[in-house]
């Protein structure tokens, strides 16, 4: 009896020590789940989800404070990926947060721009170049299409233009299968 108790206690101590050491030595810095969620989000930084950027939204999802269907730029595919990652059910995009739109970039109308720098301050990815009383211009390659620059513009000179297909982005379409000729 005593031997059995001693053996069990011994095993418990050894295993406990092993677990304790493992917890110290293999400690993961930060929350990998947040990183994984953040990697799926489109990084538009538009705030349509109700959080100030993609990472805060990722943190909110990880903490269970936000649902997975609040990201319009990520669209249905993004929600599917999130559902896969988190083992949840797919649910359609919450329209309260916006609708899925084709990827666009902001364009500043050069005639109207007064050089107020308000859009520069609003841009989350520093994609607008300009100075006070100088015309501003958007670096198209860096623009995420978040639309955050539109509201602050006092002269409404910013418009969203859907991205046009070029030879670099052109894709072969999904093959259309002709099943049978109908006479």
């Amino acid at each position: 009896m005593l031997t059995a108790i001693l053996v069990m206690t011994g095993i418990a101590l050894v295993l406990g020590a092993a677990l304790g050491f493992a917890a110290i030595f293999f400690k993961v810095e930060g929350d990998p789940l947040v990183d994984n969620i953040d990697a799926i989000l489109p990084q538009t930084q538009c705030g349509q989800c109700g959080f100030p950027g993609c990472r805060p939204y990722a943190e909110a999802i990880a903490n269970g404070e936000a649902d997975i269907n609040q990201c319009p730029p990520g669209g249905e595919e993004g929600i599917r990926h999130l559902a896969d990652l988190l083992g949840r059910e797919f649910k359609p995009l919450d329209e309260e947060h916006g609708v899925e739109k084709p990827k666009s970039v902001a364009i500043i109308d050069e005639e109207t721009c007064i050089g107020c720098t308000l859009c520069i301050q609003a841009c989350p990815v520093d994609a607008i170049v300009g100075a006070a009383k100088q015309m501003h211009v958007i670096v198209e390659a860096e623009c995420t299409g978040c639309e955050l620059c539109i509201a602050p513009c006092p002269v409404d000179c910013i418009t969203m233009e859907p991205l046009k297909e070029n030879v670099k982005t052109w894709k072969w379409k999904y093959p259309v299968i002709q099943i049978k000729d109908v006479a």
Partner: protein, 559 residues
């Protein structure tokens, strides 16, 4: 020297249809009304335009400068006037537009000065730059810049000249080898010198006996290890990896290139263009193209780059029932969405189709898992697996099955008993995977920029706060110093209350301002001549007198 030949796995033997145009000697195509020279030569690379509308250009004059490592120069194909620089539809399955230089020929074909290069006495670097500046790209179809391919640093043992021309209908390389074998061999020798290869091997499909004969005559008497080897006619023997396999037995594994195994492969047309560029100083402004299919007079033409396809097609006189036009071969080529597109350096063939020659594809049926596609796949893939994954948009799995090793040769579609156009699915999957990768890298860049911006804003805030704190501390210290000196009562009890300190600060500031004002009094009264000084004194006196009288006059009223 190569003892025997090897075999690549799979392959098919489609009807070649080469007799239609193989007997037609290369003719110089007449000058079209307009030449539309695209500045973009491949999806990878474009060139920077250096001409303006209205400018006169000579044949071979550079009109576009390479603007990236994978780019080559672009030249005017003939002498004439630049009419405009405008977006124009390009020879691409999408029919999308790209920037083109439109040149109206003057009909003189006046060449620009054509210095030649003694490649044996110059450094390889100079010779490679020469190739880039003469617009030399691979003419086998991929238009990969030759200066990159020839510029691998050593380690090349075997130089393979690809004259297999395995696709049905196409005969441009065949005619080039028959008629201009000397030029091809001269180009091959240059490439051998540049790559440092030990031996040259010409690989020509055995269905071109005259071409083999012509090349053998051309290499006759040449010293060094140079051979012409007929390879069995089996599509796609002209694929780079397949030809290397057949000639050397080397099997290029996934993710590697011929150069990694001491083998480099060039098209015979490229070798000919290299010879023209180095030994004759001519940039690549024309190439041989086959016009065949449903036409009255199939033939081979030396065509200026930028010639509109419709003008080129007219040379073959298409028959009345001609339908779609294919650019490239029937296996790997694509249907042209419109006919005003210009011929490019990649254009080796135009095929006019007709319902009789190219019957519309029968309806697609279900995959019956027969495995015929796997048996013919020259890349040793499992096309049926790739098909299922691509169709189901399971791109990760498709990549695991090495989708990107697929050369899109079309063998699988050719043999499929269910008539599934497998290659279409692979192209779709490849495009989607590339698009995803682009999106991913764009998202990563956006994340980085967003994080940097947040960090910058935090830093600016911190710096501003620090600066303010430092300034406040400095003023306080200064104030403490002055209060210690001055016996003024206000300053004496300054430390007692912060209000007093503030007041003292204000007083000090006022004092400073006063002092500054005094110092900054009228500067134009310095360094005056005695006469001016006298004038000023007089004016001051007058002013004083006036002020005195004014006060005297005001006095009674104010009382």
């Amino acid at each position: 020297m190569i003892a025997g030949l090897f075999r690549f796995k799979g392959g098919i033997k489609p009807e070649t249809h080469k007799n239609a145009s193989a007997g037609a000697p290369i003719q110089i195509a007449p000058l079209p009304k307009q030449l539309i020279v695209p500045l973009r030569q491949s999806p990878r690379a474009t060139a920077e335009c250096i001409v303006v509308p209205g400018q006169k250009v000579l044949k071979g004059e550079r009109i576009g400068l390479p603007d990236s490592p994978l780019s080559t120069a672009v030249h005017a194909p003939t002498s004439g006037t630049v009419v405009e620089i405008t977006p124009h539809a390009m020879a691409h399955p999408s029919g999308l537009q790209t920037r083109c230089v439109v040149i109206e020929p003057d009909g003189d074909e006046r060449w620009v000065e054509r210095p030649t290069l003694d490649y044996q006495s110059t450094s390889p670097k100079e010779a490679l730059a020469w190739l880039r500046d003469h617009g030399i790209v691979g003419l086998g179809g991929a238009t990969f810049p030759s200066h990159i391919k020839a510029g691998v640093d050593g380690g090349i043992e075997t130089l393979i000249l690809n004259g297999a021309e395995c696709e049905p209908w196409i005969t441009c390389d065949d005619r080039l080898m028959r008629e201009r074998a000397d030029g091809i061999v001269a180009g091959a020798l240059i490439l051998k010198h540049l790559t440092g290869a030990r031996e040259i091997v010409f690989g020509v499909e055995d269905n071109k006996p005259q071409a083999i004969e012509a090349l053998r005559t051309a290499i006759h008497g040449l010293s060094g290890d140079i051979t012409v080897i007929p390879v069995p006619s089996l599509y796609p023997a002209g694929g780079e990896k397949q030809l290397i396999r057949v000639l050397t037995g080397v099997e290029i594994p996934h993710g590697k290139l011929g150069g990694d195994f001491g083998v480099q492969c060039f098209n015979v047309g490229t070798a000919y263009a290299v010879n023209r560029a180095i030994n004759h100083g001519e940039p690549l402004v024309s190439r041989v193209m086959t016009v065949t299919g449903n036409v009255e007079k199939p033939g081979n033409f030396e065509v200026l780059i930028g010639t509109p396809v419709e003008a080129l097609l007219a040379l073959g006189q298409p028959k009345a029932d001609t339908g779609r036009i294919l650019m490239g071969g029937p296996m790997m080529g694509f249907e042209l969405p419109r006919l005003d597109v210009p011929a490019t350096k990649a254009t080796n063939c135009l095929i006019a189709t007709s319902p009789a020659l190219f019957p519309p594809p029968p309806p697609e049926m279900n995959c019956i898992r027969c495995g015929a596609c796997a048996a013919v796949c020259p890349a040793e893939l499992q096309p049926f697996e790739l098909y299922w994954f691509s169709r189901a948009r399971n791109f990760g799995k498709a990549q695991e099955y090495h989708l990107f090793d697929c050369i899109e040769c079309g063998c699988c579609s050719y043999v499929c008993p269910s008539q599934i156009r497998l290659v279409d699915y692979y192209r779709f999957a490849k495009g989607e995977i590339w698009a995803r990768e682009r999106e991913k890298s764009a998202a990563d860049a956006a994340r980085e920029r967003f994080e940097f911006r947040n960090e910058r804003q935090a830093r600016e805030k911190r710096e501003k706060a620090e600066k303010l704190a430092a300034k406040a501390a400095a003023t306080k210290a200064k104030l403490a110093a002055t209060s210690a000196d001055a016996p003024a009562p206000a300053a004496a009890d300054a430390p007692a209350s912060p209000d007093d300190a503030k007041r003292a600060l204000i007083a000090a500031a006022l004092e400073r301002a006063k002092a500054q004002k005094a110092a900054a009094e009228p500067k134009n009264t310095d360094a005056l001549t005695p006469a001016q000084a006298a004038q000023v004194a007089e004016a001051d006196e007058r002013r004083a007198a006036k002020a005195a009288t004014d006060t005297a006059a005001d006095a009674p009223e104010s009382n």
